[in-house]
Symmetry: C2
Subunit: 270 residues, 2 copies
């Protein structure tokens, strides 16, 4: 059975796990959330590369066949480094989102919201016009959205005001497509859609990376392993494992918000 | 000249530096902000002890004669550990604030706001009734205030609403004294005072710890070193040093907000 290793700066990457399990119920997942050093989104490029390499090596030590960088900040700053250093396929949330955003936009005006690190990496404004020439990209750093999600304030008045304030400059630029450039943001999708308005299409990178991993596994025929999906019967016993580098009292509650169910977390010192 | 080592999870501890320099212009300061692992306030006791020991050892390696734990989360969870392990005097923001809050309260009803780690450490509800029997303590975790300060939203409408929402349960309990149990909160002091109302007295731990360090240095006659304050003349050349474990592009801006002036930051890998 294919083992997919997924890492993130914290628990946000569980939105990627959710999508992977939805599209690929037959794979097992090894998750690592670097909660002892979270968040990545406010830290420098050099530090993020160091952390990402350590995170990926941990997943490989647990038998991962494939790595997904679920963290946008790490994907934006460290994915080339990881792809160069590791012997397994490395997927990340940015590239498939770039492709999808370019597919969806009509006017060639794409908005991106994310952490400070993702925005200042400039990865979307660099990659999007390469994918579709002439497309304009407008970015907005939204440092308060992660804390709001972790506080569980998913639908409060303050959250709606803050989302509205962050989206205003993008709407003034008349974007027609918006990339949710941070793993926490899918939990605010309803509020974001409401404040963005119906004319703006949303790209959720957790969906896009899961689709691209699925396409890869199908193409490489790694899913059936000698038996067809029809013969496979029920999915195997749940062998997923969830590691965090710091297990605070509050973590389990946040994880429940992300997964919609309780999850057993194992603590590991990196 | 006395060298005071001050550490914090990030840049928040600069409010303590500011007070120390105000009360003790003749000492030099070595600051360490653990920006590579910030914030501490959401992490577990075990992890915080490990970080605090590493932070203090770094300051000692730079010649600190005294350590101040400026971080409430670290002070609440790791100060006994540090006092036991280190050979230099260790001061921290909690104990002097306990004393001051007990001095100020008339009704014996004290409110404490802080991070999740500080609140769940239960340090204030444990120490305050020991200092003044029968005093009741009411706590409120305010995880959004640190990100709001770091975003520079010191006086926005959203900030005022969030502060109001956090203070409401404490006002319902009719507190007459409020401890700002996190180094970032002094930057929100105006909004907090406004939402708390004039009847509630504020305790700012950065002021209290600076006062207690000053009292100690005077008592031990460590300030004059053979010459009286009158003879001392102008303060010595500025020998203060400011270290951070991660120097992100945004850090210098936040530091300027805290110090009211630009500061040269040195990056160090811990």
């Amino acid at each position: 059975m294919v083992k997919i290793g997924i890492f993130d700066s914290g628990v946000g990457g569980l939105t990627v796990v959710r999508e992977v399990k939805r599209l690929l119920p037959q794979v097992s997942v090894i998750y690592f959330g670097d909660t002892a050093r979270t968040p990545y989104g406010i830290k420098s490029r050099k530090t993020l590369i160091r952390y990402a390499v350590e995170d990926a090596r941990f997943l490989l030590s647990k038998g991962a066949d494939i790595i997904i960088i679920a963290c946008h900040s790490a994907a934006s700053t460290a994915s080339w480094e990881l792809k160069a250093r590791l012997d397994v396929p490395v997927f990340e949330v940015v590239s498939p989102s770039v492709v999808q955003a370019c597919r969806l936009t009509r006017k060639g005006r794409i908005g991106v919201i994310g952490t400070r690190a993702t925005v200042s990496s400039g990865v979307y404004p660099r990659l999007i016009p390469e994918e579709r020439m002439g497309t304009e990209v407008f970015q907005q750093a939204c440092p308060l959205l992660v804390p709001l999600v972790e506080e569980g304030w998913l639908d409060r008045r303050e959250t709606r005001m803050i989302v509205k304030r962050y989206l205003r400059p993008l709407k003034l630029r008349q974007i027609d497509t918006l990339v949710l450039g941070c793993t926490h943001y899918p939990l605010l999708r309803r509020v974001i859609e409401e404040k963005a308005g119906r004319r703006i299409k949303i790209v959720d990178p957790s969906e896009e990376v899961a689709k691209s991993v699925k396409a890869y596994l199908e193409q490489e025929r790694l899913l059936d392993e000698g038996r067809s999906a029809q013969e496979a019967g029920p999915p195997p016993v749940d062998m997923d494992r969830y590691f965090v580098s710091d297990l605070a009292p509050h973590t389990s509650q946040i994880v429940r918000n992300f997964m919609g169910r309780p999850v057993r977390l194992e603590e590991v010192l990196l």
